[in-house]
Assembly symmetry: C2
Homo-oligomer: 314 residues x 2
């Protein structure tokens, strides 16, 4: 085999070559969490592995921050499905050089997120090796007041919205202490029917592309509408920062136009979190055509290639 | 803080310092799987991380074998609870040097176990870095025909039994292609009431110690009764191999004497797997006294310290 190497191509290959999963697996590979049926209930599961030197750097992050971030990434997956975090299990590969006290600091960070988001850590695996720190969180969630929201439900004509401000998360350190939008997702689903949702981990353009591919639609983003973080505004290319920096862990979602109006009207004025309309869903006539476009203030469209972080590339 | 460094001391510290987990968490840290209540049902969860250079070596194992082993370790946890594997999620940290084809071989190994044990892989996380391979499996299981079997139920007077033959798993390569005792655990629970069970991952003496501590009992093992693998028999110290080598992934369990007799009588003669009585559970009068003893053919007792593998030691 001599194939182009890419995280997304590998996931596509795995997805294409997987055996049938059975009736109790309602949604599997290809969303923020898998959805399972257990008895009369639904349960959701996700796993995320964080690696030293890739997702965090121990020169700039404390071990407590790393523990918090590991849990927060999975909590953000729950938010993306509008699900309620239930429990987590934690597996760590500790560097042998680490002290007992350092391992405890890591766990204090994990526990701070577990307590704040009512998602107890119910088990784990502690290993060690002569290599950098790796932490895996597997998290279970239960549906909130609505059915879990998938990536695949975007409809032509939908409005695309985003919570918060984008870009510069790695530079500002926000990726270490961000707020997973668990409560905000519940508020969103109480105000409107969310057709499709994802959390922005790889970068807006990359994650919007996931929605477009899953929903078989295209999207137009108004570049002047993008809510830029202060760090993005200070950067050399604020627009690129908002589109491709990643690790914003904000929610990107699609609703029909009337619901978008209602949502923007009813969103609590007191909320410290903004919700911003950034574009719309349009048809995609051929599956191999580009699916994302940027529109400038003059209404001119340019292609928006999926950018942001991708693992496992040459 | 200046504390002795040890995997088990760290787990003890985590266990002591964890916040309350809530009513839906029936069993958490300290068994092979956590047991959760979802609606009227119970669901179990475990996580295991396998590390290159610690749990496998790519000079002697193929990537397909590594994938199989990663799944099989978690399947063995399900067996230890007498639970039925349900679904798995897989997170991998791939070395950047690895090719697309190599990543696919790893997944073929994972899938072979998933298919054989009816435990579909429903999601995952694919990352990469300039360090060795790490694979985490989080697995869900459902109770079998009986309630899940804990480590904590051993009673004084119980007989200690073990499936299969012990020792030399790493040397013989059996740790790469062992059979998780999922079906055998169901057969065991259909033949007798299992008071306590664990799978032998760290080594018989280490895992028996977990049962003794969880159940607050002690144990006497008859050294001549231990079923030795052919690799253990060929080693310099066959007894030590059986007690401490680890990665046998056999079941170690306790039943009352009448059930042990019934079980040994009713165990299918045609089964390729042996079940052997290796000792008994005795009282432990003070919690800080040794909990395990070896008995030789003359009936003389010597202390059996918990041996086997432990992570995160200086």
């Amino acid at each position: 085999m001599n194939q182009e190497k890419s995280e997304f191509k590998l996931i596509e290959w795995i997805s294409r070559n997987r055996p049938p999963a059975g009736d109790d697996v309602l949604t599997d590979i290809g969303d923020d969490m898998a959805i399972l049926r257990t008895g009369g209930d639904k349960i959701l599961i996700t796993t995320d592995i964080l690696l030293e030197g890739v997702h965090f750097d121990l020169d700039t992050a404390t071990l407590a921050q790393v523990g918090y971030k590991a849990m927060a990434c999975s909590l953000s997956d729950c938010a993306a499905m509008a699900a309620i975090p239930f429990v987590a299990v934690v597996a760590v590969a500790l560097p042998n050089r680490m002290s007992m006290s350092q391992a405890q600091q890591l766990h204090q960070g994990l526990q701070s997120a577990a307590v704040n988001y009512h998602c107890p850590i119910v088990g784990g695996d502690t290993t060690s090796w002569d290599n950098p720190l790796a932490i895996d969180i597997a998290m279970l969630a239960k549906p909130g007041k609505t059915d879990p929201v998938l990536r695949s439900g975007a409809q032509i004509g939908d409005i695309v919205l985003v919570t918060g401000r984008l870009g510069g998360s790695l530079l500002s350190g926000r990726h270490l202490d961000f707020t997973p939008r668990v409560a905000e997702a519940q508020l969103l689903t109480s105000l409107a029917t969310i057709h499709a949702m994802i959390d922005i981990s790889d970068g807006l353009s990359s994650d919007l592309n996931h929605i477009c591919l899953s929903s078989d639609v295209a999207a137009v983003i108004d570049e002047e509408a993008l809510p830029l973080s202060s760090t993005a505004l200070e950067s050399a290319d604020p627009l690129y920062a908002a589109l491709a920096d990643g690790e914003d862990f904000e929610l990107l979602f699609c609703v029909k136009p009337a619901d978008a109006e209602k949502l923007l009207r009813d969103w609590p004025a007191k909320s410290p979190l903004e919700v911003t309309r950034i574009g719309e869903i349009v048809p995609c006539e051929k599956t191999d055509l580009p699916r994302m476009f940027l529109r400038n203030s003059a209404g001119r469209l340019t292609l928006l290639p999926p950018g942001g972080w991708e693992h496992f590339r040459d």
